[in-house]
C-alpha cells in the first residue's frame, strides 16, 4: 500500500509552509517553551523535505538524514529544556528577553 506517487512540489510546498509557520513562531513568541516548540516544527519540516526527496529517488538516504535530524532534535531538546528549568529557577519567568544578562 505505501509508495504513493504525489507531485514532489506539493510535498515541498507543505514542508515550506510548515517551516515558515515554525519561523513565525520563533520570531513572535517570547515564552522559551514555545520557542523550543517552534524549533521542533522547523526541524520537522526540513525532515519532511528530506524524506520527500528520498522518496523521489527511491533511496534510503532521505530517511537516514531524517534519523540524524531526529538525533539533533533529541540532543537539542534535552539541553534546551534543562536551560528552561534553570531560567525559571533563576529569573522566575519564562520570558526570553529577561535572559539577556551574562551574570545575574
Amino acid at each position: 500500500m505505501p509508495g504513493l506517487q504525489v507531485p514532489l512540489e506539493h510535498v515541498l510546498m507543505m514542508a515550506a509552509a510548515l517551516f515558515i509557520a515554525g519561523l513565525v513562531g520563533l520570531m513572535v513568541r517570547r515564552n522559551i517553551i514555545f520557542i523550543l516548540m517552534s524549533l521542533e516544527v522547523m526541524l520537522n519540516a526540513s525532515a519532511l523535505a528530506f524524506v520527500a526527496a528520498g522518496a523521489h529517488w527511491g533511496q534510503a538516504d532521505g530517511q537516514i538524514i531524517f534519523m540524524l535530524i531526529l538525533t539533533v532534535a533529541a540532543a537539542e531538546v534535552s539541553v534546551g529544556l534543562g536551560l528552561v528549568l534553570l531560567l525559571q529557577r533563576r529569573f522566575k519567568t519564562l520570558d526570553m528577553d529577561n535572559a539577556n544578562r551574562l551574570r545575574d
Binding site: 505505501p2 509508495g3 504513493l4 506517487q5 504525489v6 507531485p7 514532489l8 512540489e9 506539493h10 510535498v11 507543505m14 515550506a16 509552509a17 510548515l18 515558515i20 509557520a21 515554525g22 519561523l23 513565525v24 513562531g25 520570531m27 513572535v28 517570547r30 515564552n31 517553551i33 514555545f34 516548540m37 521542533e40 516544527v41 520537522n44 519532511l48 524524506v51 522518496a55 523521489h56 527511491g58 533511496q59 534510503a60 538516504d61 532521505g62 530517511q63 537516514i64 531524517f66 534519523m67 540524524l68 531526529l70 539533533v72 532534535a73 533529541a74 540532543a75 537539542e76 531538546v77 534535552s78 539541553v79 529544556l81 534543562g82 528552561v84 528549568l85 534553570l86 519564562l94 520570558d95
Partner: protein
C-alpha cells in the same frame, strides 16, 4: 483515494502546527503539536518511508514531546501564565514578522514550482535503511552518538546544581 488521504494528512499537519504555535496554553499547544507530528508520520508512511514514520511516532511524538510535557508539569504555569502570554501576543507584535515570513514563503513557492517530478512510489524498507545507515553513513552514526552523549552530559550538568542544593538542605 490514497492521494486524498495524503492531502488530508498535510492539511491536518499544517492546521495543527499553526494552532499549536498560536495557543496561549502550553498544554494545548503541545497536544496540537503531537497531532501535527502524527499527521506528518502518516505522510511519511504514504510516501513509502514506513521506517521514518515509525520513528516519527516512537521518538518524536513518544519521547521528545513527553519531555516537553514533563517540563510543563514541573513549571506549573497556571492561569497567570496564560494572561501574560495573551499580552505578549498582541497583533502589533506578530503582524510584521508574519508579513515578512509570508513574503519568504511566496518566494519559496515560486522557486519550488520550478521543480517537477513525483515521488517514486517505491517503498524503502527498514532493511535498506539499516544497510545504508551502517554502511556508507557509519561515520555519521558515530558523530550522532557523540552528539547524544554531549546532550546527555549537558543536560546533566544543567540539572546538577539543583540536585546538589536539594541534597544539602
Amino acid at each position: 483515494m490514497m492521494e486524498s488521504l495524503f492531502y488530508m494528512a498535510g492539511f491536518v499537519a499544517f492546521t495543527a502546527t499553526v494552532l499549536s504555535l498560536s495557543r496561549t496554553n502550553a498544554t494545548h499547544a503541545l497536544i496540537y503539536l503531537i497531532i501535527s507530528l502524527l499527521a506528518v508520520a502518516v505522510m511519511f508512511y504514504l510516501m513509502g518511508a514506513p521506517f521514518a514514520a515509525a520513528l516519527e511516532i516512537v521518538v518524536y511524538a513518544g519521547a521528545i514531546m513527553v519531555l516537553f510535557v514533563f517540563v510543563i508539569m514541573m513549571l506549573n504555569l497556571g492561569q497567570a501564565g496564560e494572561q501574560r502570554e495573551r499580552q505578549w501576543l498582541a497583533p502589533r507584535i506578530w503582524i510584521v514578522p508574519t508579513l515578512l515570513a509570508l513574503i519568504l514563503l511566496v518566494e519559496m513557492a515560486l522557486a519550488i514550482t520550478q521543480i517537477s517530478g513525483t515521488t517514486s512510489g517505491v517503498e524503502v524498507t527498514p532493511k535498506e535503511v539499516g544497510l545504508t545507515l551502517f554502511g556508507p553513513y557509519l561515520l555519521a552514526v558515530e558523530i550522532a552518538s557523540m552528539l547524544l552523549l554531549a546532550g546527555l552530559v549537558g543536560a546533566y550538568h544543567l540539572g546538577r546544581r539543583s540536585i546538589d542544593r536539594s541534597r544539602q538542605s
